[in-house]
Symmetry: C2
Subunit: 450 residues, 2 copies
């Protein structure tokens, strides 16, 4: 039942677009899920995509556009005028509409808002535009089913009928008092199984999880995951029901956050994908490469202090990569364990001291094992005794220092509201390279009595 996208179909489609054959598009896309057509558009250029959208019903076009990636969508929408965009927005839920409007230039936004036929929807969108995109208010939709606590089931069903068109995903009816304060919910299952004249007051479930408008999207995702929710009502500071977040939007948020973390951990500074232009891809990668380069040059300057030592004992240079690589690896391991904890955020955190004590012990254990192994290997390969001692002492110290740095950096970044994943990227590697070199050459200088 899932649409199969084949190379042959794409070729046939491009041909049809070249011939301005809208009929082929309409016929072959009959009954195909708009999400599949969105995927298909990635095989076409902007002009071809526009022809496809123009050929189809505005309602289908709206869904296709809504399913595009945010970046691609805002580029693609430049091909449409405000009247056309307003036409699409008419068919979208208020949250999706607000997302699209947020991507438009201010002038276009005003024009689109003016072009929305349904006044209630326009008001809804205007309300949603007030919220930051990264919080519950920015994720919620205004479309939901609300019942007064004094209603009967029959009144409730009447409301469901009235709103059936507007609220596509319906899981439960939210129960409010006369002042719109959220009291609880009644599941659709309950409504089906209750008598028509049952009072909502008698059957609603007041044991309900809700979130406030300002809650960060990460927290919203945590709450919905923890309580296994398919939808969560959003309330304002007075406890009034103002919207509803559905899990599909939160799933998208989770995916975006995972992508963002991966990019930050790998030292990529923009949201890029493999199919972006060469220029965008290079630009996203250069900043961290340059920071790494500056670190490397500082390392070079630092090693140059020991030029005379190296001239005397060139074997000192052999172990530079071992020291810097170990520092980097240990640092990334440490920070990613902290990252994991921060992502799950248990409520009662251990104190910093307790965490650092543990990190210290793990580092001592790892450091000892590595130092002994390297010492053994160096003796086996006939390296000089003093050098072997220097390398093992330096290695042990580097493991300790890098663990400390790797643990403390994400915690500090998080405290300052910066994404702690930054600590697992090239940042920690560069810092630990320098730290490792300092330790290694200092120990060597000392033990060799240079």
């Amino acid at each position: 039942m899932v649409f199969e996208l084949s190379k042959e179909y794409v070729e046939r489609l491009k041909e049809a677009i070249d011939n301005k054959d809208a009929d082929f598009i309409i016929e072959s896309m009959e009954g195909v899920n708009p999400a599949d057509i969105s995927t298909l558009l990635y095989e076409l250029n902007q002009e071809e995509s526009k022809f496809v959208i123009d050929s189809l019903d505005t309602e289908i076009g709206a869904e296709i556009i809504n399913d595009l990636d945010e970046d691609d969508r805002s580029k693609f929408l430049k091909n449409f005028n405000s009247v056309e965009i307003a036409g699409f927005v008419n068919y979208l839920d208020s949250d999706d509409a607000a997302d699209i409007l947020n991507e438009l230039p201010v002038k276009a936004r005003e024009e689109v808002l003016a072009g929305i036929e349904n006044e209630e929807k326009a008001a809804h969108i205007l309300d949603l535009l007030r919220y930051d995109e990264d919080c519950a208010g920015g994720l919620m939709a205004k479309e939901l089913i609300k019942a007064n606590v004094n209603w009967t089931i029959i009144q409730c069903i009447e409301e469901i009928r009235r709103q059936a068109e507007n609220v596509e995903k319906m899981y439960s009816v939210y129960v409010v008092d006369n002042r719109e304060k959220l009291l609880g919910r009644v599941s659709l299952k309950r409504i089906i199984l209750s008598e028509d004249n049952t009072l909502i007051a008698d059957i609603y479930d007041d044991d309900l999880v809700s979130v406030e408008t300002y809650l960060d999207e990460r927290e919203v995702a945590s709450v919905m995951q923890k309580y296994d929710l398919e939808a969560v009502p959003v309330v304002n500071v007075q406890g009034k029901l103002v919207g509803r977040i559905t899990i599909d939007d939160v799933v998208d948020v989770m995916r975006e956050l995972a992508d963002e973390e991966r990019q930050i951990m790998s030292g990529i500074s923009e949201d890029v994908e493999e199919d972006d232009t060469i220029w965008v891809l290079s630009r996203a990668r250069l900043p961290w490469l340059i920071i790494g380069m500056v670190g490397g040059l500082m390392g070079a300057e630092f090693i140059s202090i020991f030029e005379a030592d190296i001239a005397l004992i060139p074997a000192m240079a052999f172990f530079i990569p071992l020291i810097t690589a170990t520092g980097g690896n240990v640092g990334i391991q440490s920070s990613s364990i902290v990252l994991q904890s921060l992502a799950s955020r248990y409520i009662l955190e251990d104190s910093y001291t307790k965490r650092l004590a543990k990190v210290f012990l793990v580092a001592v254990l790892n450091g000892i094992v590595l130092a002994i192994l390297v010492f053994g290997a160096n003796m086996l390969f006939g390296k000089e005794f003093t050098l072997a001692v220097v390398v093992s002492i330096a290695l042990f110290s580097v493991v300790l220092l890098a663990s400390f740095m790797g643990t403390i950096t994400p915690l500090v970044l998080d405290k300052f509201g910066i994404n702690p994943a930054l600590a697992s990227g090239p940042f920690i590697t560069t810092a630990n390279d320098l730290l490792g070199l300092a330790v290694y050459f200092s120990v060597a200088h000392l033990l060799y009595n240079l």
Copy 2:
């Protein structure tokens, strides 16, 4: 409405447990969401946790245990005998029950199965145990509402009433023919709004996305995300409806996959968390540290070939960290961009050659910028001209090689069914360190005519 976990409460609770004061536990946890009590258990030891579970209703206890992390749960369940575990399993959905049974030793599993009161449930669980945990069959639950296409709405409501206890999350009724083949679905909204004598055949929606039992959990997650589903029916190869996957389970899968990727990218070889023991944490980190160490020792051996060169021109050693760090950074960037593509998996992939050509161009661009910057810096800091040329040529080559390695490695790993995130971890850094050193010293040896 969310339970607030405070240090004071935990202390008071521990006191109550010490005094075997079950009443305090029952009273203070009245109406608290089991997911919150699960979180609370992380503040207690095994014995204390068992006392809490024993004090509460078996049904609540079952939900609390079900909400624990998989690792913690299998440890915790060792405190209960088979009869007690069967008691909990009686209250769980078949998928959760199967997960718990999968964690038990074979003998205990048989005993628990024998202790399940509801025969239909025992049969469901036995059926689910056949499936691999990482596929749709392993994720699905057997609890769902199924209606024959020839039924009327009233028969359908009767079935909902009959199953209301068993199926907690109800979104729609799946429609099957006389041979149990899945035909489509009817949403609860539609049922509420339809007349009692309406035929299911007249109103069901045949435009339904379903997955087959063997589909990988990643694909299940992709499908549910793409089509914004809160539940997806699972069919066997004959198209018969055999189960249903709800989004809450898929959200957990997504979180686990993200955690797994983060750990692999950071060179951590077991699923660990900050609160694991020092021994477990060390053991998870050592394998990759040792691989990095072996790489470092190989690097040392390699550099030692050039001992005479370094004795002559010690400044050669200065730039070792710059070369290795850049190789590492470029490699991780490249592989994580591929990782991102693999995670989103567009259907029609560009060919390998086209991808590599693009990677090559990005690398050339980045390589040129870095080489020029480093050359400028070296001239500015009064480094020798030949050395500056050597460093820049080596840097440029390393960027090219590391990009190639970083792109090709995850693609090859993925082809062989290995998690491609492995390519973004210490693996790529170690390989690129060696590659970088080889290029650097070869270029130096050549240009200096040594």
